[in-house]
Symmetry: C2
Subunit: 259 residues, 2 copies
Amino acid sequence: MHIDSDSPARRIAADLRADIASGQLPPGGKLPSVRDLAERYEVSRTTAGKALILLKTDGLVTTRHGSGAYVRESHPIRRLGPERYARHHWEQTTVRAFATEAPESEAAQQQGHQTQEVSLVPADEPVATALGVEIGSPVYERARVVTREGNPTHTMTSYYRSADVEGTPLVDPSPGIAGQGGGFRVLADKGLAPHEITEDLCARMPTAEETLLLDLPPGEPVVELRRVTRTADGQVVEYARGVHAASRFVWSYTFAIPD
Amino acid sequence: MHIDSDSPARRIAADLRADIASGQLPPGGKLPSVRDLAERYEVSRTTAGKALILLKTDGLVTTRHGSGAYVRESHPIRRLGPERYARHHWEQTTVRAFATEAPESEAAQQQGHQTQEVSLVPADEPVATALGVEIGSPVYERARVVTREGNPTHTMTSYYRSADVEGTPLVDPSPGIAGQGGGFRVLADKGLAPHEITEDLCARMPTAEETLLLDLPPGEPVVELRRVTRTADGQVVEYARGVHAASRFVWSYTFAIPD
DNA sequence: TAGTGGTCTAGACCACTTC
DNA sequence: AAGTGGTCTAGACCACTAA
């Protein structure tokens, strides 16, 4: 009753927000046009447009240029816990190649899809520190964009010491390694079975590049994930960093209280 | 070279962003005024102002109404791992009251400070589910806003089954329990020593209320934390939820890869 | 009091979508 | 071709800050 009711633009936004909350404007539903709003509230089109901007930055509304403004569909939320790395996900699997498989096959669309690029790059500072190599020395970079139901959900880029993965399917650029845990499988085959993971998370607003890549609606934050994977000996075998569209994930961790 | 160089407003923002990145505009430094920019770039004041809005939503710049626009100071980042719950933080400590202590004493300011309110409230759905009580039944709510160096950094609200904490210092409204782990200490004293924690994290944009409470600059996301604390028996003794200013924290978790 | 950011109007043009 | 969001101008007023 005190905030949000000040300026005309905020007032209009508040009214629309209420309509959305009440379900009167359902997800996917079309909002009144800027010109409609301007007339109805007796304000300039600029001001009515401002209301839409406010709702966009709230993440409540998406606009399609030339078409209209729509109530944002809420995406299904995926819960991310340590189980996603579980051994049975990758230990039993054969290393599959997705070679000539049509990328829009039904299964691929449902299951999720990932594009992938592998290349040898000089290690930057965080990568070098994590992998214990010198800055600038060559490491394998495996960059992927993961898509689910047609929407890109996150990027993930892994780095490996070149000696660890040289000659494995991982670095063979032609077929590529399919899906989940392919990297872990390859490491295990080389006698470097992953055993422990440290994940660092932070949230921030996306860069312009990330907004394009992940097709983020304005006002949606991202979560940056940095992951260090070690063997039972404590040797680091993978360093990875990724960017997730915040609204599509919940992270969950369970741990014993330390002494 | 392709993004960000389109409209005049974006062009101005890009120039300023470059000045910030290069250090020519240092953190805390004052940006040119809207009227300056308008004249220099030969655009309307509205457009020059738009550039500032873009930088604000990027989180790069803060504005002080009537004073100017300033490059945002980057806050020291606190790393949050399971160690912050370590037993030695609360097991040995006496339960201190902060009674008549001046809230702006030097130590309090440095160490951080928290306001606190305890009350008996009806359990809402998530609280009831977590604590295993019926919706609407009375539970103790302990709400606090944590401040560090004069800036509010996060809120945290804990819920306890009323039988578990009845008659303890926790629910005594007059003195209040000081600082870290006071709640855990009290539970341990009642034979309900916390043993295991599950934390769920998600990132989103703040509500208007949160923006005020945490004094968030526009464009800064928050991380919502939900925490379930259990004894060694698996009994839930605390459910808590909090909202953190995203830019001031990194979360870190280490775990063994499950089977 | 002078300078600042914030917001508004009224009208214009553009780029895009839909039919 | 009609309707849409996006952006811009030029000028106005307000609320706030600082000297």
